[in-house]
């Protein structure tokens, strides 16, 4: 938990969150998150479904990771009339697709970041996981974390927020709300081999 002055006062035993190297931080926090998930018996049953909130099959994200990312995305995108929701803008699905093609270390870091994020709220005085907080609480927490004195928390929060907003505003369903007239000449999509491959992979029956 952070004090008003922003100094980190860790909420779990004697772990020095401020000075911990990045990889060790992710591993430690991810392990704590996984342990908590196992203890509560919540994550295991969701993971078996391996589906996004829109019902589609996911290739890279676990169901819990997708739920956490959806909670981040729904907290950051505009809610005024005319702006579509994150399902319409396919934010989680696009994130899953993009993540399927990046280097293993990036994929692992972002997945670990989602695990950390899901289990951070207790350190900030919330007695719930991130994805079950109401939207205002999620926004408040995100704002806190983006400006945190702890470099890794800043990095996790900021990167997840940037990615969610990037995938959201790049989707054609959003363009009307922002007055964007679309790509020059409105060319039809030239589907890459990777888009086609991802589509084929996620059309399979869930396991």
């Amino acid at each position: 938990m952070e004090t008003a002055s922003g100094r980190a006062t860790d909420g779990i035993g004697a772990i020095d969150w401020t000075n911990m190297p990045r990889r060790r931080f992710l591993r430690t926090a991810g392990a704590l998150g996984a342990l908590a998930a196992w203890g509560l018996g919540s994550s295991g049953c969701q993971r078996a479904l391996h589906r996004a909130g829109d019902g589609g099959l996911l290739l890279t994200l676990s169901a819990q990771e997708a739920t956490t990312f959806a909670a981040v995305a729904a907290a950051v995108v505009p809610t005024q009339e005319g702006f579509p929701d994150i399902e319409t803008a396919q934010v989680v699905r696009r994130f899953d697709e993009e993540l399927s093609f990046v280097s293993p270390v990036i994929r692992a870091d972002l997945k670990a970041a989602l695990d950390v994020f899901e289990w951070l709220p207790p350190l900030y005085g919330h007695f719930a996981r991130f994805s079950v907080l109401d939207r205002d609480a999620r926004r408040t927490l995100l704002t806190q974390l983006c400006a945190s004195r702890i470099e890794l928390l800043r990095a996790i929060a900021t990167n997840l927020k940037i990615l969610a907003q990037f995938f959201y505003f790049a989707h054609p369903a959003v363009w009307n709300a922002i007055g964007y007239d679309g790509p020059f000449g409105r060319m039809p999509e030239q589907q890459s081999e990777q888009r086609a491959w991802y589509a084929r992979q996620t059309m399979r029956s869930p396991t």
Binding site: P78, Q80, C146, Y168, A177
Partner: protein
């Protein structure tokens, strides 16, 4: 003799290739050195880790083209997680998604490299003939009036009002249609990237390009590279297959780009022999300020950087060595809605208010000239990909703070109603008096929303293996037939867009390689 481009579906079984020269990478460095060596009559093979995407596969989709052209889909960040690292990952490299700015290296920078780092043979007199030729082949010319969109005109107007020096930016373009999709690849072949210049020119001279091939292991024999082992990448899944290519060549040129060349050599276990490998790494972190105007700006059309403010290119220090101001180029920003939305440090209704007025959102960006004594280091991540450690030292912080202030000052001077600093604190400025708030803005990793598109260093050029990785002929110290030709040889950042410097340096590299081949 005409070469051809081989892709993953052509490479279904293991094979051994023979050539005079094997070039690893096809961007501004690799494609240029390949073309010049092919022109000199050598048999050249170019390997490219990314795919071959000709214009027929371009659709100007922000996400779709980012996936085709950008390494790790622009999701790689510095080790502190604070800066997004942008680089190319396709035949033609980053030139396919760059802005086409084509500055000749400032003479003060060439002198710095010569005097402090011992670089020889890369002076103005040597490089000028290369730039003269490239000016013709790439149709480089200052942006004319019709290519100044509203934001560029405001930038120019602001610079004039404030008495800041600036000029139209030299552009490598031909018959530009002002689509605004430079970062998505130019469908119209107007932007003179390597994909439409040196790659086809090299092919016409007989060079062979192997796309979807990852260079992996150099095989050594008495201080020489005897063979390169590479693997074919299954493009649909972007996974490295077990199909092996062996390339037997007389010369090997590492031109994998500023983020990748040093890590490739680190993977060969050369750190002990080359203690400077990976060091002196710069990346031009870019700070940006968004502005809300009372008129339509339409940031996403026409060319990105028609006008550049050069007043502050070099940092100024007082007699006691204290930082005063400068150390960056100021440009108009140009990003399509996904990236603009991503770079907005707001959320919810506040984000909606800005984005609903996107036509009236303008903005500026600054490429900082990383201070030479605060450069970072390239290391290897656990999966063998680059790990970028960047310190954000006190001078770097001062430069970033100063550029945010100057960007805000300029935008207020031309009528911005409200400004939003791309910072985690979402600093909003509504009047000139608010500029003082910038003095307390935390400048730190992840504190500013930044991207880094211009890597340099990691294989710097110099006198000996004690202070550098290559000598001034681009040859790796201690290795007879191994050369480097890209921005990783720069001892410091260039202080302007590096593409024209990379190409001119590659002319020099090609000349030395040609002499070696005899």
């Amino acid at each position: 003799m005409t070469g051809r481009i081989y892709q993953w579906h052509d490479l279904t079984e293991a094979q051994t290739l023979h050539a005079d020269v094997c070039v690893i990478g096809s961007g501004c460095g690799g494609a240029t050195v390949a073309k010049k060596l092919a022109e000199a009559g050598h048999d050249v093979v170019i390997l490219e880790r990314g795919g071959y995407y000709p214009e027929s596969t371009f659709d100007q989709s922000e996400l779709g083209m980012n996936a085709k052209l950008s390494a790790d889909r622009s999701m790689r960040a510095s080790a502190d997680g604070g800066t997004l690292l942008l680089s190319g990952h396709n035949v033609g490299g980053a030139s396919v998604h760059y802005w086409a700015d084509s500055y000749r290296t400032p003479e003060d920078r060439l002198q710095l490299w010569a005097e402090r780092y011992g670089v020889t043979g890369h002076d103005l007199a040597t490089l000028t003939p290369a730039w003269d030729e490239l000016t013709t082949t790439h149709n480089v010319h200052p942006a004319t009036e019709e290519y100044h969109n509203r934001m560029n005109r405001l930038l120019r107007e602001g610079a004039h009002k404030l008495g800041w020096e600036g000029h139209p930016v030299p552009q490598a373009r031909k018959h530009c249609v002002k689509s605004g999709h430079c970062m998505q690849g130019c469908v119209y072949r107007a932007k003179q990237s390597q994909l439409v210049t040196h790659i086809p020119q090299a092919l016409a001279l007989g060079a062979r390009v192997y796309a979807d091939v990852e260079a992996r292991t150099l095989v050594w024999e008495r201080g020489r590279v005897r063979r390169l082992i590479a693997r074919v990448v299954h493009r649909p899944s972007n996974r490295v297959s077990d199909i092996e290519l062996a390339i037997d060549a007389r010369v090997y040129v590492v031109a994998a780009g500023g983020f990748y060349s040093a890590p490739f050599l680190l993977k060969q276990g050369l750190r002990k022999q080359l203690p400077m490998l990976g060091k002196n790494f710069g990346m031009n972190p870019s700070a940006m300020v968004h502005g809300l105007y009372d008129e339509d700006i339409v940031l996403w059309r026409n060319i990105p950087a028609a006008f550049g403010v050069e007043q502050f290119r070099l940092a100024r220090y007082d007699d006691a060595g204290r930082y005063v101001e400068g150390g960056y180029l100021l440009m108009a920003n140009q990003i399509q809605p996904g990236l603009l939305g991503g770079m907005m440090p707001l959320m919810g209704e506040a984000l909606g208010e800005w984005m609903a007025q996107m036509k009236r959102v303008g903005g500026t960006i600054a490429w900082i000239d990383d201070p030479p004594d605060e450069l970072g280091e390239l290391k290897l991540a656990s999966d063998g990909t680059p790990r970028v450690e960047y310190p954000f030292g006190p001078k770097t912080q001062a430069i970033l703070r100063d550029t945010i202030k100057k960007q805000a000052q300029l935008q207020f001077a031309v009528g911005a109603r409200k400004l939003l600093v791309a910072s985690a604190d979402a600093l909003v400025l509504e009047r000139q008096a608010d500029l003082a708030k910038i003095d307390t803005l935390p400048i730190r990793a992840g504190g500013l929303y930044m991207a880094a598109p211009h890597p340099s260093g990691g294989c710097i050029m110099g006198r000996s293996a004690k202070d550098s990785v290559t000598d001034s002929t681009h040859r790796v110290h201690g290795f007879d037939n191994l050369f480097v030709a890209d921005s990783s040889v720069f001892p410091t950042p260039v202080s302007v867009d590096p593409s024209f410097t990379i190409m001119a340096f590659s002319y020099v590299a090609a000349r030395h390689i040609d002499a070696y081949l005899g």
